[in-house]
């Protein structure tokens, strides 16, 4: 093994450890944040007893869940019952590996380490654990694996509530997967590549895709909410209908794994939203060439803030909106989001072709601005003309009760 390969492997292991730890700690902190945000919205204080301002609450919850009794329903399929939380949990963690969290960091060393021998590394190091050539396709593929965890959890519990929850979730996730995949095709059209690094570079050269591909961003946001099973799309859990849906029969750490999986998925979807549509770690200025430690730090903070905003946005939505009904959810997915995404692909195709071949414009900035103008029109058409206040903008025909007797 050459010293370069050893150096690469060493760094990869280090990055894995860091990302794994950060995501797990992040998940723990998210549970606290969720409770704090909901408390803030509801005129309450939230957890404030364990640690300073409740900061140790996640640790207390973790300890509680580890020492609690593991229960098994008598009629459950034990093997699958135990396997299901892991099947939900593992894909969720894998996803964090492909996201570039900051600008590349130059790392140079030649060391002779005990046991390992000579290791060396020269040049910039990507801040993703694995900058896969298939990029966000990997995310789409792996994130859909978690549906197996949910469906199997619902089936193996041998409980009617769980079964209904599992069925709902498989239908929901498969439906929204389609919309999610389609919403990413325009990104592919503008980037020409599916690696995250390239997506970020394309946004650095042009403008952020949230401006030039607004409707894609919208579809991805909605589908992302549905993918993470959060309100208003939390039908698989639907507390008031199905007790707790697919995890009704789970207790202790197995239940926690579902929760960790859900929050890890939230982190991934938020990071993807930030990366694909808000420039990832991009900051105004040139940070990627001849990077420095400072550049990596600043871009890392930028990425964190963008991700954090979407995490907060998810919570904000969750504590504001009621839940969809199952058929309404399906209608939104199949009758609105998928046709919208398909039409949008067509529109972007024509627009990009027209800009390059008819108008002869090659500058990504100008192309982005033209697309932005197009998007303003498209958003107006979709939300105010086609939708006519039926689905998206709050609406209603009957405002007052019909008769009032004085």
């Amino acid at each position: 093994m050459t010293p370069e390969l050893k150096g690469f492997l060493l760094l990869a292991v280090l990055k894995m450890l860091v990302v794994f730890t950060v995501v797990l700690v992040g998940v723990a902190m998210l549970t606290l944040m969720e409770r704090k945000v909901s408390a803030w919205m509801q005129n309450r204080r939230g957890p404030n007893r364990v640690g300073w301002a409740g900061l140790l609450q996640p640790a207390a919850d973790g300890v509680k869940n580890i020492v609690k009794e593991e229960t098994f329903p008598a009629e459950a399929n034990t093997v699958l019952f135990i396997l299901a939380p892991a099947m939900m949990f593992i894909p969720a963690l894998c996803l964090a590996a492909v996201i570039p969290w900051a600008a590349p960091l130059p790392v140079n060393f030649d060391w002779n380490l005990p046991l390992i021998g000579y290791v060396s590394h020269h040049g910039p190091m990507s801040m993703a654990v694995a900058d896969l050539p298939i990029g966000f396709l990997f995310v789409l593929a792996v994130s859909s694996l978690s549906v197996y965890g949910i469906a199997i959890a619902g089936w193996s519990s041998n409980s009617k509530y769980s079964l209904l929850g599992g069925l709902r979730s498989s239908a929901q996730m498969i439906s929204y997967e389609v919309a999610m995949g389609m919403s990413l095709v325009p990104v592919l059209l503008l980037t020409g590549n599916s690696t995250f690094t390239e997506v970020i570079r394309a946004q650095q050269q042009g403008i952020w895709f949230s401006a030039s591909l607004t409707l894609s961003f919208f579809v991805f946001l909605v589908a992302g909410l549905a993918e993470t099973n959060r309100l208003p799309f939390d039908l698989p859990e639907a507390e008031s209908e199905l007790i707790a849906g697919y995890h009704t029969e789970y207790s202790a750490m197995k239940f926690s794994l579902f929760m960790i999986g859900e929050y890890a998925n939230m982190i991934t979807v938020s990071a993807m939203l930030a990366t694909l549509f808000f420039g990832g770690w991009d900051l105004p200025g040139r940070w990627d060439e001849g990077g420095t430690g400072l550049a990596t730090l600043l871009t890392g903070v930028a990425m964190f803030l963008k991700t954090f905003f979407f995490l907060f946005f998810f919570m904000w939505i969750r504590w504001s909106l009621p839940r969809f009904r199952y058929d309404q959810l399906m209608a939104l997915g199949w009758k609105f989001l998928i046709p919208l995404a398909l039409t949008y692909i067509l529109v972007v195709c024509v627009a990009v072709w027209g800009i390059e071949n008819v108008a002869g414009i090659t500058s990504p900035k100008v192309r982005g601005l033209i697309l932005f103008g197009l998007n303003v029109v498209a958003c107006y058409v979709v939300f105010f003309i086609l939708d006519r206040g039926r689905l998206l903008s709050g609406s209603y025909r009957r405002q007052a009760p019909a008769g009032v007797r004085g």
């Binding site: 509801q42 009957r398 004085g406």
Partner: protein
Amino acid sequence: MSTRTVEMALATPGLDAQGRPNRLPLMAVSGTSDDEFGAEHMLVNIGPQHPATHGVLRLVLELEGETVIRCIPHIGYLHSGFEKLGEYRHYNQIIPLTDRTDYLSPMANNVCLALAAEKLMGIEITERCRVLRVIACEMSRIISHLVWLGTTGIDLGAFTPFLWSFYQRERIYNLQEAWTGARLTTSLTRVGGMMADVPEGWEAGLRDFCQTFPKTLDEVDTMFTRNSIWCGRTQNVGILSAEEAISYSLSGPMLRASGVDYDVRKDRPYLGYETYDFDVPVGEHGDIYDRYRVRLEEMYQSNRILEQALDRLGRLKGAPLNTSDHRAILPPKSQAMSDMEAMIHHFKQVMEGVPAPAGEAYMGVENPKGELGYYFVADGTAKPVRWRIRPPSFINLACLPKLCEGALLSDVIAINASVDIVMGEIDR
């Protein structure tokens, strides 16, 4: 025909041809669905312990996929025998029982019982007492509707308005506690008067509540009324036409949402409701959304009544609270200790109770959930021969199977919430 013996545990009581109770296994009536797979219908138990059954209602649902074929409500998990207990108590001793029937609006129940007994005995109450009772009734209406609003929000997945409305409910509970000493078991009224007058400065607290509480309603209104998810979940779901609503003998917001303009406060006024200026909201479509709109508007109207009642209370400062007839109501303690006649009244009332003339009386009032009726049959003693409750929740619940048929599982939860039941009153 499906033979799912596991459902033996779900046996429903009924009578066979000889009138003997039988316990047949509860089975899916239509057995299998008509599709090519011949799939079995699924029986799902919602309750008695379930996040969405308010109290201990149990619904057995027969599902085809997620569509409800049949819904059977099972009641009786909270049976307390209130009506029978009432037959062994003096009229004033029944009042604590009424706290526990519709425990979301105890003060309104107290008022109804006192009114029924007074009607039976022919006792006139004072003006100040009337005003205070109106305040008690409208406070109860607001807290009951607030609970309804919050829990319905939770049932449809919106958790935040629940805490907003419970915060306001808490403020009324504090006022209630200051007045009666209890938050739930208020036992506020007595036959011929009230248990206590409002304490010093209490009116200011209620006035403050009246002025600030509509803001919360406005906020909930912002969150729900034009929210398209909320509209989608509630509009055209659980529709009941005006004719059906009347034939099911519904009352209260359930009836008015279906477009029937009937409010006991307007149609058979009591406590001087005809002299207050308020509107009765009436729906049009009879769906969950209209029930929501009607209840929301009723809270605004209750607030109007409270403000008017507070004005009157200010004018009646120092006026007598209880009727001066001390054969009906206990004389003040100071008199009972010094005045011979008062002491005799006190003694006789405590030992024997207040006798009611033989006869019967029915008093119906507009409770938050509908028309609450108390019916007494008296034989001249101090205890009723029969005390019958007309519980609005129980009668409104009767339309649930009809509303749920053909609905989706999620709709059942929403419909059940919209009926606004309280189990203490249903099982009584």
